[in-house]
Amino acid sequence: MDFTVIAEDVVHRTLRRHVRELVRKHAADQLDERERRGGDGFDEPFHLALGRRGWIVPTWPVDRGGAGLDRLGARILDLELARARIPATTLGITRLVLPAVERHASAAIRDELLAGVALGSVRFCLGYTEPEGGSDLAAARTRAVRDGGEWVISGTKLFTTGAQHCQYCFLLARTDPSRPKRRGLTMFLLPLDAAGVDIQPVRTLSGVRTNIVHLDDVRVPDRYRLGEVNDGWAVLRGPLDAEHSIGPGDDDGLDDASIGVIFLRQLQLALDATAGWASERGPDGTRPADDPVVVHRLGRVAVQLAAALATPGPAGRVRGAEATVAGAAELVDVLGPAGLLDGRAPGALESGRVEWLHRYAQGTTTYLGTVEIFRGIIAQRDLGLPRPVHPAGTATDART
């Protein structure tokens, strides 16, 4: 147990200064506002600038394209980027997929890919979900059929956020429909510039763009396969566990309790904004903070936020999302109708931050796995409850 403020030595202080300078130089502190108006979780100049400094893979050695930072340095970097509210969806996904690429990519492409990732020129998006399957990833129907040294891939993938800025899609495909569903899957790094790849934008409530990717007989050389044929589930597992906040992690207190912190940072900003609003006199001369019921309602959000931030693993994912949804609704109620104005409308409160949060929050219960998936994981893995029994006789294992 340790919650001390970490003493920074001169190296870390310098690093922090350098990150802030980079942010200022790229006016990256304004990306957040652009993002809320309708962004796509990515800014190429800034991403490449990170790459030039080795900050995409900060703990890798400099000669591999990293910055040779220790874990503390990497934490400082991440906190500074978060503090500056840098949109980091594609950065996060690229980092999530990276270990699977390191471990499973063929020798033919690995070094080039890793170097590209470090530089910022190679980015990954996820190709898991399909129109029919929902959160049952193992039901993937996208077909990959071997044809000599190539695979011919057809199917449709949803929620391939960032695909328009990425070079590869971390793709789950069915290679053997005759085997039990998890044993007939193979992972690929699908080059997104291949013929037959069609990326269609999908706008989400938060303003962020995601995509549908249609694959129509896309020919992919075998060297873009990750891991063994029909062993895709094992390859997928690493990124999936990381995304689900499962796994041992490091014990040095340099990780957040759960990946839910991504949502909760937004809730915190909106709560602080609402508290700021409540502390000032409105046009009618009253101070909302003088009303105990308002104070109590803000206190409720503060308690839920603190609890969610402390909740670990998959539990933290669920609490993070649900605290964000409930908190957003409460803050909107407190602000009243002006709190729902578009940030650019006259009289909008707090630049529309709460209005945006209210829309954004609705994605958090699905994004990176539905809360139902996580409840299933907790019921089975933490509580040891029996798996749901389905008619095929195959009980569903939520620990996926």
Binding site: E132, G134, D136, R297, D333, L341, R344, Y367
Partner: protein, 357 residues
């Protein structure tokens, strides 16, 4: 609500009301498919639908006969509001009807009579601005309302400054900031401003609650239809309790909120002083049910619900905005507590407990 009181507890619609409800349901189903809703999003108002609604008689039905109306009550308008909500129709009808009824209390002289006649035919949109008169207020139909009915010390007034620039908002409402005090304005001769404004507030709450009931049911219907047709893990998605139970909870909320609205509307029409806190209670509960309901319905669609193209996302976006246009439901919860405490302190309290003596 006293559970020992000998009142009828009849929530059913009579034959005429069923006909009316079905008429409204068919009207909005026909005139307001989702592409109409989407097409109206930039401004939040569909003038063609507005005219059709006027032709239906929706704007005059609840006016007194002297004002050219049919003398229907809030019960009937609530049936209309529910069906309007069911299709999230982009017309600011609830505010308009409440404002018209408030104007109608001013009697039959010009210029009020002309304004009211225009309003009852939909030629003018009436907004409602019951917040403090001396500061600009966000009027939910202020971007399309030719006139806004408000009040200042001791007087009901109509500000006729005409539509103001649209204040874009999440809910797709034709809102605008209106500074009623700065607009040209006419005083409406009424007997008691306080009573009428209070009455208008209560009507607004009940009708908004009814619209929210319809809205929530509409979102629920989309979710039910989605999970009925999808499969997961080899079984229908909607057969999983993790999916069906939350939807059942929404249905439970809708059933109760609908009844509560009907009850509140009936009391407004028949015994407005018997349960004065009921409109606020119905509104607070309908708001809670809507907030929860649209979130559950959207989530039931998985990631697809989060797409701007999804119909359910349109319902989600309106739930909060429609609510807050009628006030913070937290205030009504507080008022319900105050009413309870006022009763607790009443001298007849012991009388209600006669059996314990």
């Amino acid at each position: 609500m006293d559970t020992s009181e000998l009142r009828r507890q009849d929530y059913t619609l009579d034959g005429d009301q069923v006909v009316l409800r079905d008429l409204f349901a068919q009207f909005f189903a026909r005139e307001c498919p989702m592409d109409v809703v989407r097409a109206a999003e930039p401004t939040g108002h569909d003038p063609q639908l507005w005219r059709a609604t006027a032709e239906l008689g929706a704007m005059s039905m609840a006016l007194p006969a002297e004002a050219g109306g049919d003398g229907a009550g809030i019960v009937e308008v609530a049936l209309l509001a529910e069906q309007l909500g069911r299709r999230i129709a982009p017309v600011p009808l609830v505010e308009h009807v409440v404002a018209s009824r408030l104007l109608a209390a001013g009697g039959g002289d010009d210029p009020i009579a002309t304004l009211l006649a225009d309003a009852s035919r939909g030629r003018t949109v009436l907004g409602l601005g019951l917040e403090r008169y001396d500061v600009p207020q966000l009027v939910s139909s202020g971007a399309v309302a030719g006139a806004v009915v408000g009040h200042r010390a001791g007087a009901v007034v109509v500000s006729t400054g005409g539509p103001q620039p649209h204040a874009a908002n999440q809910a797709g409402l034709p809102s605008a900031w209106r500074d009623l005090g700065a607009e040209p304005c006419v005083e409406v001769p009424v007997a008691s401003t306080a009573v009428l404004v209070d009455r208008a507030r209560r009507e607004l709450k009940v009708l908004t609650a009814a619209a929210l009931v319809g809205l929530t049911e509409g979102a629920l219907a989309l979710a039910v239809s989605f999970v009925q047709t999808r499969r997961t893990q080899g079984v229908p998605l909607g057969s999983l309790q993790g999916v069906s139970f939350p939807l059942a909870d929404v249905a439970i909320g809708v059933a109760g909120a609908r009844h509560l609205c009907r009850r509140a509307a009936w009391f407004l029409d028949h015994e407005p002083e018997a349960e004065p806190d009921l409109p606020g209670i119905a509104f607070a509960y309908a708001a809670e049910v809507a907030t929860h309901g649209v979130t559950v319905a959207l989530h039931a669609h998985g990631g697809l619900g989060f797409a701007v193209e999804s119909d359910v996302s349109r319902y989600f976006l309106r739930a909060k905005g429609w609510t807050l246009a009628a006030g913070d439901p937290g205030r009504d919860v507080l008022a319900a507590g105050e009413a309870l405490l006022a009763k607790a302190a009443r001298p007849d309290r012991e009388d209600r407990r006669w059996t314990s003596r």
